[in-house]
Each structure stands twice: as structure tokens, then as C-alpha cells.
Symmetry: C2
Subunit: 195 residues, 2 copies
């Protein structure tokens, strides 16, 4: 089953950052890197059916959104520093509202939450929140999962998400990190596909 | 439920390494870092009931085993570089067969696979392997999960594990990275604890 993951990275820097300080001056870019890694990688391979979008909302030029397609991406490793280097390259490019390909399978644009979600018409948008419906009770198809970072999702973004969402999903009583939500969702979908 | 995770890191370096090259000259230390991170961290917190052990088997001084207790660890962040710094500190210490505390909740010793597993008498040892019993069919209590890295587990180590194991578990048809196995196992146990 094709799956799309969207992270809202509230403080992630939108210009070139220091690879040695992802959690600090780069605005918790470590969360973005782990999110991308967990969206795409399995042991010894990449999920061709997965696509990760990270909406970077930090200084100095919000928003910038990075898209990494498992089908097309090349030369990417699962470690944070490698993925951060790829993001840095994307942030150095001149970009506008439309997607621009930075390297195979990696695109960047100025899209924000509403303009990105509007791209997914025809798919089911699921917003992850602790008080949502238990994921195990929900049939999921053609999913776009929208996930907040350590700061959650701001009220304006949440309104835009809820307006477009087909459901609000919960993974249980524990609040997981964004990358952990992705790993768990991938696992749940993998098992459902196995029947 | 208390849970213990053990990673066998076949090539992870056993002396001080370069924080900027975790996947390369540090011998896939990025896998070790993600494994520790996923064993211990949830959103805005650390699992007090989890403990991670990484058996480093790389050059120049194998084996060294690092133990991080969720109950006691301080000053640790979930990003790879922060955890790698903690490992580097542990590898710089003078160590022998017994556990030595490097910083709160972080211990290091010269234990190898058999001598480490022998510490867990009274607990149930589960070996993760793709052809094992489906985790969903197995009742799990007081678990010690033993997981290989990208190279799997060598024949000698596997013999020692199997001899002590209460079960061989599989997470399904897909082969996951070590840190993903941990996230999934934590999730499965979390949900079982919720009832």
C-alpha cells in the first residue's frame, strides 16, 4: 500500500545549517532527519511505496517543504548526518511555489500546510493525535499521515489539517516521537498487507 | 513491563571514533546510536522501564559492551551525535570484565555475548530473526530481546543465543533495521500493557 508521511517541523531552519548541531541551531533538524529515515528505510533497502514530506517552518525563510520519494531517491543513507546534508543542499537552492528537483527523488518548494495538503486530493488524510481514534479500529487506504514534531501542531495548521482530514488517529496512550509514529504506522500497514 | 534490548554491533569500533563519520570509520555506529535512542526515548521523556545493551565487536579491542539504563541515565538526547558522544566517552575509559559506571546510568564492560546473556537468568530471552514465531502469537514476559545489526548475527554468537533463548521471534515478512525492531517491540508491549 502506497503511503505518504508529512511532518510539521515548527522550528526547523530554512537556510543552511551546521551539521554538527542538528538539535540546537538547526531547530531540531534531528527530528526531521529521523522522520525521513523512518519513512523510507528498511533493512538493506528503501520503501519504493513511501514518500516523506517535511514542512520546515523555522527561521529565516519559512515555509520550505522537502519531498523525498522512496521510488526515485538515490545516494541516501539512513543516518541523520547524511540526510541532514541532503536537506542542506535543498535549502541552498533557489525555490518558489512549485516543486524543484534537487537530486534524484528529492524536491523542494515553498509550500505550506494548506497548499501541500491540497496536493493530496483523492487520498485519505489522517492526522495523528493522542486523543484520536485507535488506529487498530480504523481501516486505512491510500493514506497521508500528518504528524507534528516535539511542539505538536499550531492552531492555524491544525485547523487546516482537520478541515481536510478523513480521520484523527491515535497510536495509544503513549505519546511517541514523530519518527516512532512513522515506524509504527509502517509496521501496522506492513502487517495488514501481509493479511 | 520491564524490557531489555541487546544489540550485536558486529563492526562498531571499540576505541574513540570520529563523530562526523558514524557509518564509515566508526563501523556503523549510527545503528548503535539509533538502537539506543529507540530503546529509551519516547516523546518528551525516557522509558524508566527500559535498558539497552550494545555489544561492540569492531576493531581495535573487541568486545566492549555499553549498558544504558532508562531509570538512571541523565544528560542524554535522542539524536545520533549526542549518543555517539556518550559512547565515545565510555570507550575512552579503562575497563575490564565488570561493569564500570561512566556517567549516571551508563556502564561499560568487556562482556561478550555469552557473558552478557548469562547476567539475565530468570528473565526470558527472545532472539529476533525473520523466520521466528510471529510475535503476535507469543506471550511475552520479562523480555530480553537480542537483535543483530545490518550484518545479522555470526554463527558463534547465534549458537550462544539460541542455547539460552526462550523463543525466536519474527516481526513479519519484512526485515527491519535494528532500531525499527526496538520501536515496534516497544509499541507492541505498550499496547499489551494498556490491555
Amino acid at each position: 500500500m502506497d503511503r505518504i508521511f508529512v511532518l510539521i517541523a515548527n522550528k526547523a531552519r530554512t537556510s543552511k545549517f551546521n551539521l554538527n548541531d542538528l538539535p540546537g541551531s538547526a531547530g531540531r533538524m534531528d527530528i526531521v532527519c529521523r522522520f525521513i529515515s523512518q519513512s523510507l528505510f528498511i533493512s538493506h533497502g528503501i520503501r519504493k511505496n513511501a514518500c516523506a514530506y517535511a514542512i520546515l517552518k523555522g527561521i529565516p525563510e519559512p515555509c520550505k517543504t522537502i519531498k523525498i520519494s522512496g521510488r526515485d531517491v538515490r545516494y541516501l543513507s539512513p543516518d541523520e548526518r547524511n540526510i541532514a546534508g541532503m536537506i542542506n543542499k535543498a535549502l541552498s537552492a533557489k525555490i518558489d511555489e512549485e516543486w524543484r528537483e534537487i537530486s534524484p527523488g528529492v524536491h523542494v518548494s515553498r509550500k505550506d500546510v494548506p497548499s501541500l495538503l491540497d496536493e493530496f486530493s483523492g487520498r485519505s488524510i489522517y492526522y495523528l493525535r493522542e486523543d484520536g481514534d485507535d488506529v487498530h479500529d480504523v481501516e486505512i487506504s491510500d493514506p497521508v499521515f500528518v504528524i507534528g514534531d516535539h511542539l505538536g501542531v499550531g492552531v492555524d495548521d491544525e485547523r487546516e489539517i482537520i478541515r481536510r482530514a478523513d480521520g484523527v488517529l491515535s497510536l495509544g496512550k503513549i505519546s511517541y516521537q514523530a519518527d516512532q509514529c512513522v515506524t509504527i504506522l509502517n509496521y501496522i500497514l506492513d502487517r495488514r498487507c501481509e493479511g
